[in-house]
Assembly symmetry: D2
Homo-oligomer: 384 residues x 4
Amino acid sequence: MAETVRAAVMVHPGKIEIQEFPFPELEDGALLLKVEMCGICGTDKHTWRGETKQYAGTNAESDTPYPIIPGHEVIGVIAEMNDRKEPRLDYDGTPLRVGDRVALCPDVVCGKCYYCRHTFAYPWCENLKGYGNSLTSVESPHLFGGWAEYMYILPNAFVYKVPQALPLRVAVMVELMAVSYNLDKTKEFFTLSGEGFATGDTVVVQGVGPMGICHVIKARMMGAGDIIATDISDYRLALAKEFGADYTLNVAQTTEEERIEFVRSLTDGRGADIVVECVGIAQVLVEGLEMLRKGGVYVEAGNFVDTGDVLLSPHRHFCAKNVRLIGMTNHPFTGYTPSMKLMQKYSHLFPFEKFVTHEYPLAQTEQALLRSMEPDCMKVVIVP
Amino acid sequence: MAETVRAAVMVHPGKIEIQEFPFPELEDGALLLKVEMCGICGTDKHTWRGETKQYAGTNAESDTPYPIIPGHEVIGVIAEMNDRKEPRLDYDGTPLRVGDRVALCPDVVCGKCYYCRHTFAYPWCENLKGYGNSLTSVESPHLFGGWAEYMYILPNAFVYKVPQALPLRVAVMVELMAVSYNLDKTKEFFTLSGEGFATGDTVVVQGVGPMGICHVIKARMMGAGDIIATDISDYRLALAKEFGADYTLNVAQTTEEERIEFVRSLTDGRGADIVVECVGIAQVLVEGLEMLRKGGVYVEAGNFVDTGDVLLSPHRHFCAKNVRLIGMTNHPFTGYTPSMKLMQKYSHLFPFEKFVTHEYPLAQTEQALLRSMEPDCMKVVIVP
Amino acid sequence: MAETVRAAVMVHPGKIEIQEFPFPELEDGALLLKVEMCGICGTDKHTWRGETKQYAGTNAESDTPYPIIPGHEVIGVIAEMNDRKEPRLDYDGTPLRVGDRVALCPDVVCGKCYYCRHTFAYPWCENLKGYGNSLTSVESPHLFGGWAEYMYILPNAFVYKVPQALPLRVAVMVELMAVSYNLDKTKEFFTLSGEGFATGDTVVVQGVGPMGICHVIKARMMGAGDIIATDISDYRLALAKEFGADYTLNVAQTTEEERIEFVRSLTDGRGADIVVECVGIAQVLVEGLEMLRKGGVYVEAGNFVDTGDVLLSPHRHFCAKNVRLIGMTNHPFTGYTPSMKLMQKYSHLFPFEKFVTHEYPLAQTEQALLRSMEPDCMKVVIVP
Amino acid sequence: MAETVRAAVMVHPGKIEIQEFPFPELEDGALLLKVEMCGICGTDKHTWRGETKQYAGTNAESDTPYPIIPGHEVIGVIAEMNDRKEPRLDYDGTPLRVGDRVALCPDVVCGKCYYCRHTFAYPWCENLKGYGNSLTSVESPHLFGGWAEYMYILPNAFVYKVPQALPLRVAVMVELMAVSYNLDKTKEFFTLSGEGFATGDTVVVQGVGPMGICHVIKARMMGAGDIIATDISDYRLALAKEFGADYTLNVAQTTEEERIEFVRSLTDGRGADIVVECVGIAQVLVEGLEMLRKGGVYVEAGNFVDTGDVLLSPHRHFCAKNVRLIGMTNHPFTGYTPSMKLMQKYSHLFPFEKFVTHEYPLAQTEQALLRSMEPDCMKVVIVP
């Protein structure tokens, strides 16, 4: 192996450099992952723009500690492993071996704080570490992001074996498919008397970039009725249709009133059962809430970083609407393995290979990031 | 019986008159109720002030059709009953008789619209009629409010037999105790991994007028841990303590920051598990949401009429907080009988007889209403 | 129209006659349905064999009141309607017209008893009437079963408009697809921590006659992982594969131990997440419970009539297993319309037209019934 | 400290000896607990009788590896602690100190197997170790049971700080109060339409030994309506009344039919909403299921060891009943701290100090065990 590792470092907002880092030593239980493919996520774009306030108002409130190696939608192969003391297991309890292809969960939790002990599967940890996000590249062993040749996988980080039959370009979707457990989460609130996600329900996905597309896919897998996608890009809306949306509305070509009216007319005037916000702009909540039926579920997932305020009416948007507004960050640890299983099993129904639209080598990471911010792409990935 | 019926009519905002109405004929299935006691509710105060936009943004959006006979928290005795065709049953299926004391559910639903057929127990009916609220006294048979000697009970209105042992002044609480099913509703969202209401949970009730007090009582009945009440009235806060609150915070004597800090310090910095909004002012949502722990439930119940907008941050207040915000109007039809059962069974634990603080005869309805808007009272009732 | 109506009457167990009945007069709200197609259900077979104890141990316990006109999986066209007093609505609130094609819900509930008022959508009514089942043909207006030219639809019976695009032979599946809401029901018990139906779950369906097949379809629509079907008929197992089963086990060709081992080996030794019993034999519970993982859900739906006892171990099968055993009769009123919507939307994924395998005219009802008891058929229907 | 530790060892069924063990060395993260009080549990009685098959039919199936030191309802003081590497935390994340009084969770889980990773809070671990139960005293460091002067607390065992104000004799209830989370668990299945535990519900507890009594207490804390206790001991039934039961039925003095009829007559003929089995005899399920209303919840918790089979009717007891039968072993890790909080907060409502009826020194452990099997005691404890 090489004596140094090359990685793309965001040294401050708007600036990416390729740097070299020493090849790391592995502590007990650690892995060295040879990165095969790593996605560019909406959060990375926020970080590029300097929009870095995350988990505001909670004990885990944080700002990005530049410089960092971004990248957290990672598929790689285990290059080295320190399992001298005990077998290193994947999340589901299976022993790992060098050469295994795995997906990484970027959220590393302490397992011992109040939230780790009292809530389940979501990383509400008070000591949360986020690969590609909250760990600076200044500190050894440095390799805490996926836009790099190798990553250092901490002993308590969760990895998941990738089934052999799953193509790399499909496997790289898994983190976002786990995010789409937002829809499974609404099933915790389900009753047959109109609460939560029911088969046949009308679902609106606001914004069909990669995260929104995965919610379209998941809604279809779960037996949704009509799925309506909104976006500013005809390119993305066309892909949304291929991935299961029944109707699309281009926000640049219609008025808010027209879109609300469209959803209501589809539902005998009532509104959608479920609306998922995957845009990441504060203002869109008003439109989404107006599209929702009384007693419907609004999933607020897109505003993962602080994007400002919006004026809402407690009466109209919450009380009279009998809304169930569910704020959701991250994704469940338990969502990776079944997501990969489902992508295999339902591969004949969805054109998964169209999800990754652009691949860039590590040296062109900045171009890749800029490209990912254009409207006519879906997932842009780094192939180091 | 008398040939006419006296009733207090709100002819327009800010104006109440005592009027006489003809003694009604009963259609099949209808009841004539001799009103024994009728509460003055927060909604009645809104109506007095002309704040009458209800169910905004839904198919049931409405404005109050003055003149009306207000009053919907009613206990009465069946004076007449038209059961010539078939037995008239109470909600639970028990045949009614003249002389029975009953509580009335003020929400009359059609039973045939989409919401009546697809949701349960809450009056999300598209053709909702609300006693004391949405039925004008101009139209025959006029007697659609509880501030009157008699009420005309429609064939499809729900009534509930009052147990003999339950004092009248306690029975009159039942409608608000049914409103407190807001807390039972959160149990539909319960999981042991930190979702919904758990025994031992910390509960904040914002505003402890009669509706808030009933939520304090219900939280205590359900096994809450610490209960914190906030209000502007020391009088009401003192009563809240007698009814089960562990801590009280006078909003007029503390800063928002102090109150948020108090709740956090009680919970190792995390925030309350459940916050119930019973104030009815848009601005209080910010404080309530800041008091809430990550993943906690915010019950928005107080803004039953349109009270304007509030600036909220989708990131901070919803997404990062992983909030479950539950808008709740009305109360379940199924909540009356168990509420009366619980008030009997737990009567040694709560000073229910202190709930009604002021009684007025029908002739002094306007004074009663003005009195109910003072800070140093709890429930004010009309005793026709 | 004809002056009399021909119907197949089961005069006692094992005996069917074609009889003629007077053309009925319609009371207010009643419909006359010209039957287009009516399925033969497992319950009908029990009735033929004299196994008629239903709802044993409940307030609704009953025996079949021979003679009856069987048949309750009905699609028909409204031939006459008495809507002189008020519009006759379908279940979802849409006005009906003569000529509309509708599906019938065979369970007619009173709407006023305790269960009608306190539970939702399932016919736990204390005064339940069941078309084709609990209403004798001796009493006027006689036409209470679907194996007839016309049916008399009571004013409070629920009917559902059939979408024009849905073929008759697919529409006739709707009652059983509504039964498969057994799987939706388990979502009420869902949490992400391993309770209830999760996407990707392993599902076993014991018995893939028509009811079992519909559960296979529904599990697939809802995003199941592996689906395993068991049956004694290779014919039915082959169809189960076409409808979405991944694996099939012929009970006549394998041992119980082999089948249990097969399911465990598919699940890393743990067992299936969900097992649905659609056989209707008491003994199969043991096998099903052994196939289930700890904490899994066992849906007991097949023993709709009394089929005797089975020896079970409270420790092994319930307590240690941490089982969630859900007894389910009937189906929800709310399940018809979304089922028809889903059958349309997912018609490219399932060969719905293969569901009905045999059609018989009314005159050959007894042959049809005998045919339906052979292993090499799926749904047998009467086309009057 | 002493150089040896005295402990009561069950060398084989029916035989207890006091033995001495070497004072242990503590590995990283381990604690040494000076036992203050340890209860005698029903499981200990089974072990005494040689009824030791646990978790039958699951991956964790086991038999007791005699000799063992029994005892798992432990309150003790931290005598030594090895926190040289890192702070030793209690379950809720608070650092521990020598001298802290703590409760122990007897179930030690690996944290890495499939069930540890996919289910929450209940010890469904495939590598479960049970203090006082599954760890033989032959193997070093021996001290794996609470009937001893000291216990060796493994690094990954969960302990919980006991609030200073909670008396020792009340604190020792905490494990069983955590078991009573069986009732909280049913809230995961709750909907307002008659599923799971609702405030005001009628609850039957079959068997009111210590475990049953704790379910009575919990049902009352959670807002139950009528609570009915059954037992063979008038002594225990009288205590059940003091702890919140409204009605008691002595099984030795009434027939099964009378008891079923009593419960039905209390509930207008319907049956109880919730029945909890705390007897541990296979046969009682029939009575319990007959007492249950349609759609009610049956909690099977008492048959923790294999007690044989019972004849049940899939139709009558499961399908027609629409039963929700919930098998429950153990208790949630998350149930200790809130249970102690609730016992403090509700101490004025329950005579908690009457729960422990007999205390014995370590030397008289065998007498204590025999005493605990008499009908006229509640909790018998060892005070080493």
